[in-house]
Symmetry: C2
Subunit: 326 residues, 2 copies
């Protein structure tokens, strides 16, 4: 049995979902994967807030206590780029594997973090950062390793897709946006979503994995001023493809033929079509956001880390052997 102790940073929508999900999946993970995952600390800002189902004794408001305590993996689900970034760096410097859902920070400082992790033989899991429950990261990193990706195209922002689906049904943009806000799918300030910035950040992450080539041009248009023709299907499409010397990225609203595979992707769903040279098109589709779907991607990363690490006993024996040989 591989024991994994987790420091959980953040206990909001995703963090709270993770606590609930792990408590109900823990026995299955022990049986199926031989992984015993447990939360050792939970970093929160407000210790006195009601958090149903979250054990009070695990809570701390001290980042140092959470980060430097007894843990193997740091799960960062705070979001934002400021303190989250500092925590991830500290976790890596102290030899902890990291799981994060923080696409903004990865899009901005990903290269630096991955270099820091690689230097120390550590793992950064970020499946939850793009497309929620849809395991698109792992597909591009490993599952489709046998083929060269020629292009990828998808719907990676559930908020815009929800708004466009409502508009298809007759709502005006403003009304559809308010409806998304009421469903908890859009922030009070929806700029990042509706201006296509969130989609661009996700597309940058996917393109880096798919092509490992420099980004030559980026075009990003949001959905703020779209006009929907009656009976037509409009989607905020994110596309990446090879151009001489690198990759071009485009995020823009596009009218799709009704039988296009992305036209069937409605509401807050996400989908990505990967076109490979040998394999043709592979499409994956599922819930792009939400507490439990995103938490399930985080937990999959924790299990993956346990799979890639030798059992603690072995690691210790190897370290002992190495020490004796010195």
């Amino acid at each position: 049995m591989r024991r994994v102790r987790i420091a959980l940073l953040g206990c909001g929508t995703v963090g709270g979902g993770f606590v609930r999900l792990l408590s109900r999946e823990r026995d299955r993970l022990r049986e199926r994967y031989g992984v015993d995952a447990e939360i050792s600390q939970i970093l929160v800002r407000n210790l006195s807030k009601e958090r149903p189902g979250v054990p009070r004794e695990l809570l701390t408001d001290s980042p140092l206590k959470a980060l430097d305590g007894d843990c193997d993996v740091v799960v960062e689900v705070i979001g934002g780029t400021h303190s989250a970034g500092a925590y991830i760096r500290r976790a890596l410097l102290s030899g902890r594997d990291v799981v994060t859902a923080n696409k903004a920070h990865l899009a901005e400082r990903g290269r630096e973090l991955f270099d820091a992790a690689a230097e120390r033989g550590l793992f950064i899991g970020f499946e939850a950062s793009v497309c929620g429950a849809v395991p698109i990261i792992r597909m591009l990193q490993h599952a489709l390793a046998g083929d060269s990706v020629e292009s990828l195209i998808g719907i990676v922002n559930g908020t815009c897709n929800f708004i466009l689906t409502r508009m298809e049904e007759g709502m005006e943009f403003d009304q559809a946006l308010r409806s998304a806000q009421q469903c908890g799918l859009a922030e009070a300030d929806p700029t990042l979503d509706i201006d296509g910035i969130d989609a661009e950040q996700k597309l940058r992450i996917l393109a880096e994995l798919a092509f490992a080539a420099p980004v030559r041009r980026v075009t990003t248009r949001g959905i703020r001023h779209v006009v929907l023709k009656r009976g037509s299907v409009l989607r905020l499409v994110a596309e990446a493809y090879r151009v001489p010397g690198g990759v071009e990225l485009r995020v823009e609203p596009r009218e799709l033929p009704p039988d296009h595979p992305l036209a069937a992707v409605r509401d807050e769903e996400n989908a990505v079509i990967i076109r490979g040279r040998a394999m043709g098109e592979v499409m994956i589709r599922g819930k792009g956001a939400g507490s439990l779907p995103t938490a399930s991607a985080v937990l999959s990363d924790v299990v993956e880390i346990a799979r890639l690490r030798p059992p603690l006993g072995h690691a210790k024996a190897a370290a002992d052997a190495a020490a004796l040989l010195k």
Copy 2:
């Protein structure tokens, strides 16, 4: 750089595709994954057959020479259950990892093979055995590890789907079957496909990965006697779900509503929808067969094996250290 020497058993549709694919992807795999994969032997029945693009000096018709030669991984793409099974067992007994596309043998003797591999710390990759290029095996094994699967439903036999798509367009069953045979999508004896046996074998593999629970009931009906109502969509659907004490499997032709996600899966495409307790539905769709799509799944497994094995240098250092400690 991790060097992987491959003994390739079989050089037909998939094997020949694998030789071509590896030769064009080899540089990318070195750069991207630090894996240098090369074929050291190719076992064929007929040494004198023309095989464009296949280096003659790698061919052998001696199974022993291929299996006991200088190789780390045995890739079995012969098919059938008799000699292929014996070769896989011999490969495992001599400490080689195995990649196979052989669903018939896995459905029949999978448990025994996986136990033999686990005992020796070896890896059996079988992504290519179900749904060709679609990485459904890896999704169920690892990418969706964080959630419990409640049910799965899909189209896993491309031959039947091709025939049913032709019938939708107005052909009679016999005519559609002949058309599939002309396209190389159906065997001269199409029994395994059209009676649903191939779909059942694949469903057994998927259900074992998804539920790891005993199969309580199996219902298998093929498409030999289907009647298609004008304007309706009929698909050979494979479904697995939990029942008290285990899992129930069903393979049967079903009329689907035109907006059902599986209704859009046409020709030889495959698709599977996995319903998880936390993540909701995730659907994956792509080419279920064909030389290069299937070869890409085989090559992804080879890369995965290299990723899970420590670099040879490290392994040797560890072995040396262990020997010194004895």
